[in-house]
Amino acid sequence: MKNYKRLPIYLFAALAFGFASCESEDPVPENEGEVITDVTLNFQELGGGGNPVGSAFSAKASDPEGIEVGATPTIETVTLTKGKTYRMTITVTNSIEGEDITAEILAEGDEHQFFFLGSAFTNILTIAYDDPSGELIGLQNELTVSASPASNNGQLQVVLRHDLDKSYPGATNPNFEDFVKAGGETDLDITFPVVINN
């Protein structure tokens, strides 16, 4: 029975310990590791034999806050010339963290793939994957402007899918409209306006 007398002491010791260990940590700013803030389409005209001709140019889409409620992205217009062929490469960056995400996409090429859709591909542009590694990713492509385009403007929708089944029937086509059926989820979905010069 003598043990009972000390019981309250044990109880309160346990209690004091419990209450003391319980303050929330001070918050720390979190590095937004996965946010994409800038997507740039780089164009280099190709001459006969696939050699670069003239100077390169680019069109950029940016959203400095990433996924936060606020500003909508600013998207530049892509201006191309009738009948010409371009090498189109894509660079993806996280400017908040100063991180180049292109390399990550390339490293995980078996899990990522770009699809190119929109009205620009009805009798204006044609596109083919041209990734140096041979894996169909879409970081480098060959884009050809029709010599007699159906219209002098259109929409170029760039979709980056992650975690998809790359061997899904039809998924080898860069214009594959049913890309959702290959599974996975969307990392990027940007529509660039396209203007075709004579």
């Binding site: 209690l15 319980c22 001070d26 918050p27 720390v28 700013p29 590791g33 996965e34 089944d165």
Partner: protein
């Protein structure tokens, strides 16, 4: 309105029965109730004897007894029950019938072989209460807490796929109901729709649902109801019992093992212990036509307790550990709104999965520690001092599909500490009064563990809640009346970074809550209860501060730091009829909630480089919930039995005159059973056929991603065999759920947008007690 007519009918019936029971000369009735002095548990089979007339009665399972045909006069009444001190009392019967409550005290434990009841507190409330125990509990083994409780009328689930389910009581869930793990309020991250309660149903031998507002007794958030998950009482005398459950299921190839052992010391009188553990492993769930990718789960749980009780003092230490890893349906994790729309249109996952036990991202990894120490001391036969302290640590990690090294890091990593302290004094003043008053303290600290690479969904915060309360009950024979009052104060300090900006908030809330209730045992067959209670709930941290993308829902959710507390007034009425053959319980309720907090689609979208997202905001509006639960059973013969359960609920936003999302649709579950064991024990072999009918939810909110799925009907078949092997009990159960492999979608399942529910599932359940 129907509600009015029904209550009128009930009151008329009450009145008539009350009149009939009034007696004349030599037609007087002595009725009453026999309870344990210790905890107010009713005593069944106590013997009431009137010396003068040599007549008597035996109390029923509710402790009620009736002695009829008495003339006016003075009588000596004795009440006897094994192991309890005999009561001898003089009762004066005049012109009216008399009601009397007897409280029996335990005798010393010296008597060898005397059954001594433990110190598990019975729920003392006049509001509607339903329990899951015994055979129903046995049938529910292997299911999550939420799924098990669907067996109680008026309880449904709010689920995320087939592995995450939260109980819903009368349309309320998450932070509007409270779950008690062996008396301690479970404090996990219950705000999340996809956060299942962190509790192992195997630790309980009884789960009780209180359907009324119980804020006074249990504190804020017990607004919609309370679920008590109670382990068996610890033995106080020499006794050993081991129980093993072994379960297997054909769907998801689930395997589940649980073992528990309880024992009482033969050396130290009053010392008892219990240990229990369970392991569960399941793979991909199969809908009738396809596997749901990445829907496996693994769970490892343990609990143990050690207790000592003497005639004055009781002490119990308890610890439980819960650990789960749950795969989230791969296709439910969508990148943006157009992804979401595509899969909804498709009606099923795009992924053609195979069976696997492997759990990949997206997934949740949750651990929960709960330790408590509890003690009571009998100051004198009438007053008892109670102390309870609980410590909880909840860790929740949620993993998404991410690029590169981030894939191995959780996107949400929360650590929640909770301390709870209860100190109360309760009393049983013979013969009529009992009650309690006390104080209750909750202190909580929530931290985001840095390194997730995602701005946290909710801030770090410290919360303190203090409450004081008092309640009293008057009990006289068939009548019980009770009332209570409580005051709470809560303060929340929150801080977080959004980008480089430090945002802080300090919020205070305070509130009174009160209840009154009554129970009237109209006759040995009829009992009527009524309970009116106010309740409140301060806005939760996610409702105040959410800001960010909710994957899966492709939604940006925005909190509002200016939200005020919800206040509710709930009236619950119950009518219970019990006879030899029939049991019927009707519960009718109405719940008026001021400033009900809900997530409202703004109709706006947010455009980013990733695509488009819906924007949702937390709003407040007045709400009105009402409904009925019905449950009944009828014994046609010793071999044939039938049962029926159903619930109807209506919930409306009375300000906007529209409906809230995720309110259960009308449903009914009925079945028949045939016992075909030997005539001496027909229940040893039993076959049950059940049919579950669920209506379409026609009261849909103005905006939903997809219309409510159609109504459905499921058939379940069960076979139960009980074998007595010497002194040991062996139970074999074979269940076939969704016998016809019907493809259906449940409105209350958030993944109805992506996939059909589980197909046919055949379960084998073995239980051995020795």
């Amino acid at each position: 309105m129907n509600l009015k007519h029904l209550s009128l009918a009930i009151f008329l019936t009450l009145f008539l029965i009350a009149h009939l029971s009034l007696g004349q000369t030599c037609d007087l009735i002595l009725r009453g109730k026999i309870l344990h002095q210790e905890n107010d548990d009713p005593i069944e089979a106590a013997y009431v004897w009137i010396l003068e007339t040599r007549t008597g009665a035996v109390s029923d399972q509710n402790g009620n007894f009736v002695v009829r045909d008495l003339c006016p006069g003075t009588y000596t009444v004795t009440v006897q029950f094994l192991g309890h001190r005999e009561i001898r009392q003089t009762v004066n019967l005049t012109g009216n019938s008399t009601a009397q409550t007897f409280r029996m005290e335990e005798e010393s434990l010296d008597l060898g072989g005397v059954e001594v009841h433990g110190h598990r507190e019975a729920v003392q409330t006049t509001t509607a209460v339903s329990s899951l125990y015994g055979e129903a509990m046995l049938q529910s083994r292997g299911e999550s807490l939420g799924e098990s409780l669907k067996r109680v009328a008026g309880v449904t689930t709010f689920s995320t796929g087939n592995t995450i389910s939260k109980p819903v009581i009368h349309g309320m869930h998450s932070n509007r109901i409270m779950i008690l793990n062996n008396g301690i309020r479970l404090e996990g991250q219950q705000w999340g729709a996809e956060h299942a309660p962190e509790i192992d149903p195997f630790l309980a031998d009884e789960i009780t649902v209180i359907k009324g507002a119980e804020t006074v007794r249990y504190g804020p958030e017990a607004m919609g109801g309370v679920i008590l998950v109670n382990p068996p009482a610890l033995p106080t005398s020499k006794k050993h019992l081991t129980e093993i459950h072994l379960l297997g299921a054909s769907n998801s190839y689930m395997g589940n093992l649980s073992a528990s052992h309880l024992g009482g010391s033969d050396k130290i009188k009053g010392l008892g212990y219990r240990v229990q553990g369970s392991v569960k492993r399941a793979g991909n769930v199969k809908s009738p036509d396809y596997y749901q990718a990445n829907t496996g789960m693994a769970e490892y749980n343990f609990s143990g307790s050690l207790g000592y009780s003497s005639d004055k003092l009781g002490v119990e230490a308890y610890y439980s550990f819960f650990n789960t890893e749950i795969g989230i349906l791969r296709d439910a994790h969508t990148g943006n709104l157009s992804d979401l729309e595509e899969i909804i249109e498709n009606g099923r996952p795009f992924t053609n999965a195979e069976f696997t036990y492997e759990i990949d991202n997206p997934k949740q990894v949750v651990t929960h520690h709960l330790a408590k120490i509890k003690s009571h001391y009998h100051l004198n036969p009438d007053w008892k001092l109670n102390f309870q302290y609980g410590f909880q640590l909840n860790n929740r990690q949620e993993f998404d599909r991410r690029r590169g090294e981030l894939n191995a890091k959780p996107s949400l990593d929360l650590e929640l500490f909770t301390n709870t302290l209860d100190l109360f004094l309760d009393h049983n003043l013979k013969p009529n009064w009992s009650g309690a008053f006390g104080l209750n303290v909750i202190q909580q600290a929530n931290s985001n563990i840095p390194g997730t690479g995602v701005t946290p969904l909710i801030p770090n915060y410290d919360m303190f809640n203090g409450g004081i309360y008092a309640m009293e009950k008057y009990l006289k024979g068939p009548l019980e009346l009770e009332g209570g009052l409580r005051y709470d104060f809560r303060t929340v300090n929150a801080a977080r970074y959004v980008g480089e900006d430090l945002q802080t908030a300090e919020l205070d809330y305070q509130n009174f809550s009160a209840f009154v209730g009554g129970l009237y045992q109209l006759s040995p067959h009829f009992a009527f209860t009524s309970n009116l209670g106010t309740a409140w709930r301060p806005p939760n941290v996610n409702e105040l501060f959410s800001q960010g993308l909710h994957h899966g829902a492709a939604a940006v959710e925005i909190g509002d730091p200016d939200l005020v507390s919800e206040n509710s007034l709930k009236w619950v009425n119950g009518l219970e009829f019990e006879s030899e053959k029939a049991l019927v319980e009707i519960t009718a309720y109405a719940n008026q909630i001021k400033n009900y907090i809900y997530l409202n689609p703004t109709g706006e979208t947010y455009v980013s480089l990733r695509g488009t997202f819906n924007v949702y905001e937390y709003l407040q509006a007045d709400a009105f919930f009402y409904g009925f639960d019905l449950s009944g059973s009828y014994t046609f013969s010793t071999r044939f039995n039938g049962y029926l359960k159903g619930s109807i609920i209506r919930a409306k936003n009375t300000e906007q005159d529209n409906y809230f999302p995720f309110i259960p649709s009308d449903r009914m579950d009925w079945g028949i059973s045939y016992a075909f064991g030997k005539s001496s024990n027909p229940e040893s072999d039993k076959i049950t056929l059940a049919n579950v009918l669920v209506a379409r939810q026609n009261r849909e909110p103005d905006y939903d991603l997809a219309p409510a799925p159609p109504s459905y009907a499921l058939f379940n078949l069960g076979y139960q065999k009980k074998l007595q092997l010497a002194k040991n009990q062996f139970n074999i159960g074979l269940q076939v759920n969704n016998v016809f492999n019907t493809e259906y979608k449940e409105y209350m399942n958030r993944f109805r947008y992506f996939t059909a529910d589980m197909g046919r599932n055949i379960l084998l359940k073995l239980n051995y007690q020795f």
